[in-house]
Symmetry: C2
Subunit: 434 residues, 2 copies
């Protein structure tokens, strides 16, 4: 049964705190199995990939070939309906456009002391995109992970995707082609992550690995971190809808279910100021569930983790929103931008009554890879920044070194690092003589 | 003996590859000890901090008090010489100024489809700064970690520092005061990291933990990651100097030693186009070592890990630089900015003959917390971004939802996520009726 809270109930703070610390995932410890897989790939390269793929995916990738041929990619692409292809193109274009607007600017200026300072942004040279097989094999996810890398300017972008029993979703391959990926390998699991980190005879090593995956993939990413960069490891999806009673309850119910249908441990929360509206939404949820194909999953999520919070005043709900730090926040209220500007912690915000969260999953443009489990307190969604890095620079002239150098010498002496001091003083002495 | 390579020797590629994979650190596995310390702090709070501090720091912090009093902070601040205080202020001001220039801009625009899009940057609410005791107890490090947080707008900034035998460096406390930190706790090690992550009766939990530390501190940060954000875990320092033969070899030698003196496993590399100049630098290194207080450390680093690479042409050294992806890169050459712009992988660049790396350690302004061990291929130095996160937003009008919604429905259907599709189609139906 969905949990119903009211901000006026005496134990509200306690109940709300319990929502904040609700555990929805049981962490499976796969570190030893993953360690042995990673070591095997490091030692045996392609041979290990053949063996693991035969074992886990029941597929003879040695005979078939690890890499998708140009012909296979073309065939997959051409097998799509024109409607699906047009939708993927629309999504790819809009994602590219938003991420282009997100590109950071370099910095280069000379300050009052005469020191020239700046920072230059450069893309990582190579990145690997992990795409899961099975139920989470989504073309939208390919676009959301690949487009920021392309926009950032990553030159070498490769994709790995498991093909259990040899089966692959052509829409995933088509999305890769649309995103400009030409190098796709038929391998998944921890072995694919290890291949991307260390390289094999066939698969090149990359500098950064991104993309969702199961517990083995997540643990493999943790283990290769440091050798390569990785993205954040995401938990089950969440949505928080803040809605007043002038909404159509059927709309809001559909929005809550759009996250619930992802996963039995997904979480959907509604905050509203009207108990009667809350009840209408609950009824509408039950009503939608009667016809939705993924009703079983959505229902499990809603019954076990769904929460409805009735507050006295929508404006007073802001601290609850920031405490929940939701992955997705929908603001179906009056003056939603005023509220939006005050939000401190959220992955992405869907503003106003005509912006269902699902629009952001596919075609809005901002990334759908977002921080979950309250990590929006300190982290952000996937972006061009994840595929770039900054190099700062500084240039002193003899004059500006004379202006700021003495302070550096004083601090170096204090810290007992005399060679640091020497590298400045030896120049200042020569400058003095000039 | 320092390793001497020449790009013209037949086995150069092999030798250079060996430099790239040179191991300078032996990873000590402290995960179990750290796990038990973290659990003890979670369970017992302050009591665990008292016990661990008595055991590891030989200090009765229960009697003395975990938190530094305002009075103690004032006393430490006032004990500094006016010269040291002025140097710290100069550093704090210049670091603040650079990081202000680094602040990102929010985004808010409406695109051709009529969709309003943007992203807003917000600071993390709270951050904890770890400052090591013992030999790495540097006031410059306090400034470099604290100022970006302050500039980013972090409201609650706390510092932890171990005080072995009750001893603390007043310059470290003064630097904290200068950076606007008023909450400082006498605790270190894995127990301090655990306290910052989970909170105790006295120490508040924070959202992000930064700052250098030993193997225990690094492992504790790894273990609490996810509950809180952490910064990158840094390895021993490195410098790569690219210098032509018109430099004073004594200057370049001092620069190489300024990193070598940090740590016996630090690494200093010189790339030059003149074998005679290389020899002069080697002689100058030996000459400096005769008088430097930290000669033993610097000499161990230089003899074991120092490398001199003679290339045919400075311009051809760029691929070597990018392959080394150095923490610090010094360009003591003609037209250094031309070269600098072509660099893809480096933590920070020191441009021209009058910019010793040490100026960046203290007063230049850019951060001295930088990626080591070739991680500049995919990561960046500490910055205001480490203390901020982005929230993207999107707003559709009925018209713009009608423009982009159908593509979202097509993709949701393809992915078998019908509630996603429903949340869009249920709105489009009503829009059609209007």
């Amino acid at each position: 049964m969905v949990l119903r809270l009211s901000s006026s109930q005496p134990d509200f703070e306690q109940q709300f705190a319990a929502v904040l610390t609700m555990k929805r995932e049981s962490a499976e410890d796969v570190s030893e199995s993953v360690h042995s897989i990673v070591e095997a790939v490091k030692d045996k390269g392609d041979k290990a990939l053949y063996d693991f793929t035969a074992k886990f995916d029941r597929f003879d990738v040695e005979t078939y070939g690890l890499r998708f041929s140009e012909n296979e990619i073309e065939t997959a692409y051409n097998s799509l309906t024109s409607e699906l292809l047009a939708a993927l193109k629309k999504a790819a274009d809009r994602i590219a456009s938003f991420h282009q607007n997100q590109m950071p600017h370099s910095l280069d200026y000379t300050d009052d002391d005469g020191v020239r300072l700046g920072q230059q942004w450069r893309p990582v040279s190579s990145a690997g995109l992990y795409v899961p097989g099975g139920t989470a094999n989504y073309p939208s996810s390919v676009l959301m992970n690949a487009m920021p890398a392309k926009v950032a300017g990553v030159e070498n972008l490769v994709m790995v995707v498991p093909t259990p029993d040899g089966v692959v979703n052509p829409a995933v391959i088509a999305a890769a082609k649309l995103a400009g990926i030409h190098e796709i390998y038929r391998v998944g699991g921890a072995q694919a992550v290890a291949a991307l980190a260390y390289g094999t005879e066939t698969i090149p090593s990359v500098d950064k690995i991104v993309g969702p995956g199961n517990a083995f993939v997540a643990e493999a990413k943790r283990q290769v971190y440091g050798k390569v960069g990785i993205d954040a490891i995401a938990g089950p999806s969440e949505i928080l809808v803040v809605a007043d009673n002038t909404n159509d309850p059927r709309w809001i119910a559909a929005d809550l279910l759009s996250q619930a249908e992802h996963d039995p441990v997904a979480q959907s929360i509604l905050i509203t100021d009207d108990p009667a509206f809350a009840q209408s939404v609950e009824l509408a949820v039950q009503n939608h569930l009667r016809t939705l194909p993924r009703a079983q999953i959505a229902s499990a999520s809603w019954e076990n983790y769904g929460v409805i919070i009735v507050v006295g005043d929508i404006d007073n709900s802001l601290p609850l929103v920031d405490a929940l730090a939701p992955e997705h926040l929908e603001l179906a209220i009056e003056n939603p931008h005023e509220y939006r500007e005050k939000v401190t912690h959220a992955g992405a915000i869907f503003v106003g009554r005509y912006t269902p969260e699902a629009i952001g999953d596919y075609v809005a443009g901002p990334n759908h890879v977002l921080p979950t489990a309250r990590t929006a307190r300190f982290s952000s969604g996937l972006s061009v920044y994840d595929f770039m890095k900054r190099t700062t620079f500084v240039e002193c002239t003899p004059e500006s070194l004379a202006a700021i150098g003495p302070a550096a010498i004083t601090l170096a002496e204090e810290e007992g690092l005399q060679a640091h001091g020497l590298s400045v003083s030896i120049r200042l002495e020569d400058i003095d003589k000039q």
